[in-house]
Symmetry: C2
Subunit: 209 residues, 2 copies
C-alpha cells in the first residue's frame, strides 16, 4: 500500500474459512482479487497465534503481488508481525486510540460501529474508516446488531471518514446499499461461499465500483 | 522494571481466574505479591481483547506500585497496549524472533519448551528465559507434555538463560524441583487456589528464594 488515503474501500473482502466449504483460503482470496475486490480483511477465530501468523504471512505475500491492502481483524500483534496495512477493531477489541498510539499514523485502523455515537467516537479516536452493520441478516457472524439502510445513511452524513457497510450484502441488495451514499461494501459469503468466486466478485464490483 | 537482567525468576505467579474459585483477580494478585512472588504472568483465555486489555491495565498499575515485572501470556498486542515488561510465548504462539524484532531488546520474552531442542531454539531466537514443564500433573492447563526433573536438569545444563519450572509445583515437590538447579518455579494453584494466598506465597518463597 502506497498511501492509506488512496485506499479504495469499494469491495472489501472479509475472510471466513467456514464460508469456503472446505476450499483453500489462499486460492479463494486470489480468485476474489482477480474478480476485483479492493482490499482484504483477514479474520480468524479459534486459531492459535502461530497459525494466525502463518496464514497472515501467506496472505501478505499474495496482496503484495496484487498491491492491495491487508487488514487484520482484531489482532494488532499479528498485524505488526506480518507488517499488514492495518487492523479492524470491533467494539470488544482494543480501543482505537490505544492501537493508534502503537501503530502510528501510516497504518489503517478500521472500527465497527452500529450507531451514530459509536461512529463519532471511533472517528474521534483516529479511525480511518468505519464498518457499519449488520445491514441484513447473516450467518457468518454471531451476535450482530442490525442497522437499517436509513441509519447507515445518517451515520455516513455524521462523519467525515469512509463508511463501509457490512452484513448480508449480496447481489440482491447491493444496489439499495449503494444508494445510501456509503463508500464501500464488505462481503463474506456473497463472494467466498459462491461456486465461482471470481465471477461473484466481478459482478459485485461492477455494481459498486 | 529497571533492567531485565536483574529480574528475579524465583517465584513466578501465573494467573488463572478459574483457580481463584470466584475470588477477585486483582486482590488475589496483590495478596500473592505481599506474600513474595517475584514476577507476574497475566494469562487470560476466552476473553475479548478489550477485556484482556482492561484487566492488564489494572494489573499493570498494581505491579508498578510494587515494582514487579508484568509478563503477558501470548498476546504481544496487549503487552504493547499496557506497556508490560514482556510476553510469554508458547510453542503455538508467535515465533520469538518475530516478537523480538517488534518488542526490541529491553522487553522480556519468555518461551515454553519441553525438550532440550526446543529450549536451544528458543534461546537462539532471543528468549530471555525458558519455561519448562509440565513437571507434575496439573489441572490448570490442558494438553501439556510431561517433563521429568532429570530432563529439566539437562535442559538447564544445555542453555545459558534462566530456566523456570512449571506444572503442578507445590509445597510437597518444590524442594525436589529446587535441587535440579533451575532458576525459578512458576505456580498457579499452589498460590491462587489456596485459602490463604499470601501465606502460601510466603511459604513457597522461603523454599525458593
Ligand atoms: Ni496462545
Amino acid at each position: 500500500m502506497k498511501d492509506k488515503k488512496t485506499v479504495n474501500y469499494g469491495l472489501y473482502l472479509v475472510t471466513d474459512r467456514i464460508a469456503l466449504n472446505g476450499r483453500l483460503l489462499i486460492d479463494s482470496i486470489e480468485e476474489a482479487i482477480l474478480g476485483g475486490v479492493t482490499l482484504i480483511q483477514l479474520r480468524e477465530k479459534n486459531t492459535s497465534s502461530l497459525e494466525f501468523y502463518e496464514i497472515a504471512l501467506e496472505v501478505k505475500k499474495l496482496v503484495l503481488k496484487y498491491e492491495l491492502p491487508l487488514i487484520i481483524n482484531d489482532r494488532m500483534d499479528i498485524a505488526l508481525a506480518v507488517d499488514a496495512d492495518g487492523i479492524h477493531l470491533g467494539q470488544k477489541d482494543l480501543p482505537p486510540r490505544v492501537a493508534r498510539s502503537i501503530l502510528g499514523d501510516n497504518k489503517i485502523i478500521g472500527v465497527s460501529a452500529a450507531t451514530i455515537e459509536e461512529a463519532k467516537i471511533a472517528e474521534k479516536e483516529g479511525a480511518d474508516y468505519i464498518g457499519v452493520g449488520a445491514l441484513f441478516p447473516t450467518d457468518t457472524k454471531e451476535n450482530t446488531r442490525r442497522v437499517t439502510l436509513e441509519e447507515i445513511k445518517r451515520i455516513k452524513e455524521s462523519i467525515a471518514v469512509p463508511v463501509v457497510g457490512i452484513g448480508g450484502i449480496n447481489e440482491e441488495n447491493i444496489d439499495a446499499v449503494k444508494s445510501t451514499g456509503i463508500d464501500g461494501v464488505a462481503v463474506v459469503s456473497a463472494i467466498l461461499s459462491q461456486n465461482n468466486i471470481m465471477e461473484s466478485a466481478r459482478s459485485l464490483r461492477k455494481r459498486f465500483a
